[in-house]
């Protein structure tokens, strides 16, 4: 596509290419939908993993996001915005899963001393994130791990920017308190 754009002298626009793929998917072209999957799957699986902290479930949610996006493609007004459309679906599915999971109580245990530093840190972060309410957890992950702007987080979560700011404030304070309690516990 890029080579073609260079040859024809037309500026390469990935959003325009995405819109074309969405159009072809609407027309029932499977290859176009597979192209959309390969474009967005990495980001969806990574974000779902960070929110859910479960690689298997993250893969499942990412697949479900594509199914839902395909089913609800008629709701997408701007085909160029497919990326944020499917990302929004994925994050909402993650939050829904967290709400279901929250019924299951979790206990805070000290991290395994035999684990290496990075793995140990991940396990501890996972346990602490599990203790945050789903909305706070998703907001914190999108901002701190995915490095999204306030506006992007607001768009994905479907809330005003002020709510994102307030949720981040609360989430950071709760995470700090949990972190301090957990690291003190380990000493």
């Amino acid at each position: 596509m890029i080579r073609q754009a260079i040859q024809t002298g037309v500026a390469y626009d990935p959003k325009q290419e995405e819109a074309a793929l969405v159009y072809k998917t609407r027309e029932g072209e499977d290859a176009a939908f597979r192209a959309l999957i390969s474009r967005h799957r990495m980001r969806l699986v990574r974000t779902a993993s960070n929110i859910l902290r479960d690689p298997v479930e993250a893969e499942d949610v990412a697949q479900e996001s594509f199914l839902k996006a395909h089913r609800e493609l008629h709701r997408l007004r701007d085909d160029r915005a497919f990326g944020s459309f499917i990302y929004r679906i994925c994050v909402r599915l993650c939050v829904d899963r967290l709400r279901v999971k929250r019924a299951e109580p979790s206990t805070l245990e000290p991290a395994d001393d035999s684990a290496s530093g990075v793995v140990e840190n991940r396990l501890l972060v996972e346990k602490l994130l599990n203790r945050l309410p789903p909305d706070l957890r998703a907001t914190l992950v999108l901002r701190e791990m995915e490095q999204l702007s306030y506006e992007e987080v607001a768009n994905i979560m479907g809330v005003p920017v002020g709510t994102v700011r307030s949720r981040l404030h609360t989430a950071r304070e709760k995470f700090r308190a949990l972190w301090v309690a957990a690291t003190d516990f380990r000493m």
Binding site: R41, V118, E144
Partner: protein, 148 residues
Amino acid sequence: MPNPCKRFRRLVLSDPEIDWDPADSAFVTGHRSGCSKCAHYERELNTSRAALTPGALPNTPEDDFAQKVTERMTQAQLRRQLSVWRPALIGGVAAAIVVAAVLQILTVEPAATTPTLQRTEATPSKSGGNRLFDSGSIAGPTPGVSDS
């Protein structure tokens, strides 16, 4: 908690590059050096926030991700089609059962209402005689009717 400490904590919980103006920066710097509790709070906060970034999972999708999506999509379409046709299928099966039951009643009803112990209904036995029951029945030979 004194108000300056509240303000300090509210500011350090936000994003300096987005939410702070120069006056906020000056306040945070000044308060940090004068209040050990708030300085300690900020250190805890920064440590916990720093833990989040390397805590991200470097997960990559399986190789057959697209194939799995396609398979699930096919299954979902089948389920949707089935859910559309299910009421018709259930209705059809129910109607077939009703028709079968009605036919059963219509075919069984005449036999059930006709008296069975009438001589006119007696059927010829294997040996040629008219008997109400086959051999071994409690009725025995019909009086006045010869087997020969």
